[in-house]
């Protein structure tokens, strides 16, 4: 009887193995796609400082659900939010919030970014995206550094690490400044570029955002500017990163796992939505609120609580009864948050001042924000 039990169990085991082996083999071809959205992009804002082009002829009224609600911001994220008169890009006179954001990513731990050695693990580092036709979001760990030459099909990328396993990282303010710009100084090529909030006064660069109190749909959509909007934690949501330009200098400008990084002109800012910034929880299973675009409409995460996406308009927006018109951020790997401005933005002359001049391209190779 004992023997029979063993035989039975052996048969079960063999049967299970056969079945599972079948599973394994049948799934071997579908290991891929499963992106859950997150890696986005980053951007190193390129240049353009217009607040969008042209919205003419305003019409339409926004529902109260669409109105910017400063109570949605994380406590401590804003220094102030005052309502003032403003002029939209089509000449419409209205009222806007002048939001003074601390720029500290309130409630979030900033970093880490670059690996220090080729043994650094994903937990010790941030993320990066490729820019060729196989672009992906990668953990910027030691293995990633070792694989760069293969990834970009260029052995010059081996220059980022040394025989002793160390990785070239911009670890000083001078190095950060020399590398986090369009014309990377020669000595900082072949580096993983990262900057520290220690280089910034009070650990951050405050930003001013002038955003319509109540968004107004434009007759025609307009292109997003270098500054897409402001996150609820008070840091900037930036436009696409010029990844090609960064790679051309044999540098990578690693983001932290929340999709942000630092330069001396914008401070800490986001190029990708990886989930960290969805702090505005919704009661109905809708994706969380990330922040507000410069036209005043809310930007939410890509997927709802069930992991579903919906069809959107060309700006990546949609409308529902609860939120009115709103945007959904793209996946982290798509190098953008939204596709265009659905609403009218504030005319440049009243859009609030950037904190200081910077190189024409953002980034860490970036621009001083026009907000």
């Amino acid at each position: 009887m004992h023997l029979n039990s063993c035989q039975s169990l052996i048969s079960i085991l063999a049967f299970s193995l056969m079945m599972l082996a079948g599973c394994n083999s049948s799934s071997s071809s579908d290991t891929g796609s499963t992106d859950n959205g997150s890696t986005d992009t980053g951007s190193t804002d390129t240049g353009s400082t217009d607040t969008g082009s042209t919205d003419t002829g305003s019409t339409g009224t926004a529902s109260s659900a669409e109105a910017l609600n400063v109570d949605n911001f994380v406590a401590g994220a804003l220094a102030s939010a005052e309502i003032e008169d403003c002029t939209l890009s089509d000449g419409t006179e209205t009222t806007c919030y002048r939001i003074e954001a601390a720029g500290k990513a309130q409630g979030q731990t900033i970093g880490p970014f670059c690996p220090r050695t080729t043994s650094s693990t994903a937990a010790e580092t941030g993320i990066w995206i490729s820019a060729d036709s196989t672009a992906q979001v990668y953990d910027a760990d030691g293995d990633f550094i070792l694989n760069l030459a293969n990834l970009y099909n260029d052995t010059a990328w081996n220059g980022l690490h040394n025989d002793d396993g160390s990785v070239n990282v911009t670890l000083t303010e001078a190095a950060c400044d020399g590398a986090a710009q369009p014309n990377v100084e020669d000595q900082y090529k072949y580096h993983c570029v990262e900057c520290s909030t220690d280089y910034l006064d009070d650990g951050a660069i405050a930003g001013t955002y002038v955003i319509p109190v109540t968004p107004t749909p434009a007759d025609t959509t307009s292109s997003v500017a270098a500054t897409v909007g402001v996150a609820l934690n008070g840091s900037e949501l930036s436009g696409p990163a010029p990844v090609d330009a960064i790679l051309a200098n044999y540098t990578i400008a690693a983001f932290d796992d929340c999709g942000g990084h630092i330069n001396l002109h914008q401070g800490y800012h986001y190029h990708a939505a990886t989930g960290c910034t969805e702090v505005g929880a919704q009661d109905d299973g809708h994706a969380g609120l990330i922040g507000y675009a410069m036209d005043g409409y809310g930007i939410y995460g890509m997927k709802d609580a069930d992991g579903n996406e919906e069809s959107l308009d060309e700006c990546r927006g949609t409308t529902d009864d609860t939120r009115g018109y709103h945007y959904h951020a793209a996946s982290a790997g798509e190098n953008m948050f939204i596709g265009c401005n659905h609403g009218k933005t504030v005319a440049t002359t009243t859009a609030g001042g950037p904190p200081g001049g910077g190189p024409p391209n953002g980034g860490p190779n970036g621009t001083a924000p026009t907000r």
């Binding site: 299970s16 599973c23 796609s33 996406e309 959107l312 190098n335």
Partner: protein, 123 residues
């Protein structure tokens, strides 16, 4: 014998789950091919439909929009995963295997219990 049986049963369940994990698609790499997202809109006017394929064959469908002074294909439809159907099938298959394994184990456990009672009665 009961201890021995439990050990084998637990090993079987653990093995099943371990193998189940091995057939779960990797989430390590995700994203869109940035270069293609830009080049696919070269020479196209704003708002024109565009589409490109990602690293794993997924489809990104949207329209061309001005981004950083260039045209970029901005996706506005959910990402389409061509292999989703086969992934679902694999997951369903795995669930079936787990269910079968658990049923068989339960049956064997009952048999073992019956045998144990019989042995005890013989003693």
């Amino acid at each position: 014998m009961t201890l021995e049986f439990n050990f084998i049963r637990r090993s079987l369940v653990l093995l099943s789950y371990s193998l189940t994990l091995s057939v779960t698609p990797s989430h390590a790499h995700s994203g869109s091919p940035l270069g293609v997202a830009w080049s696919t809109c070269d020479g196209k006017p704003k708002s024109q439909a565009c589409e490109y394929k990602g690293f794993h064959g997924e489809r990104y469908i949207g329209t061309c929009q001005v981004m950083a002074n260039n045209m970029l294909c901005v996706r506005n439809q959910p990402i389409e995963y061509p292999e989703k159907a086969s992934t679902d099938a694999a997951e369903t298959h795995t669930e079936e295997v787990k269910e079968i394994a658990e049923i068989v184990v339960e049956k064997s456990e009952k048999e073992a219990a019956t045998e144990s009672i019989s042995e005890d009665s013989l003693d």
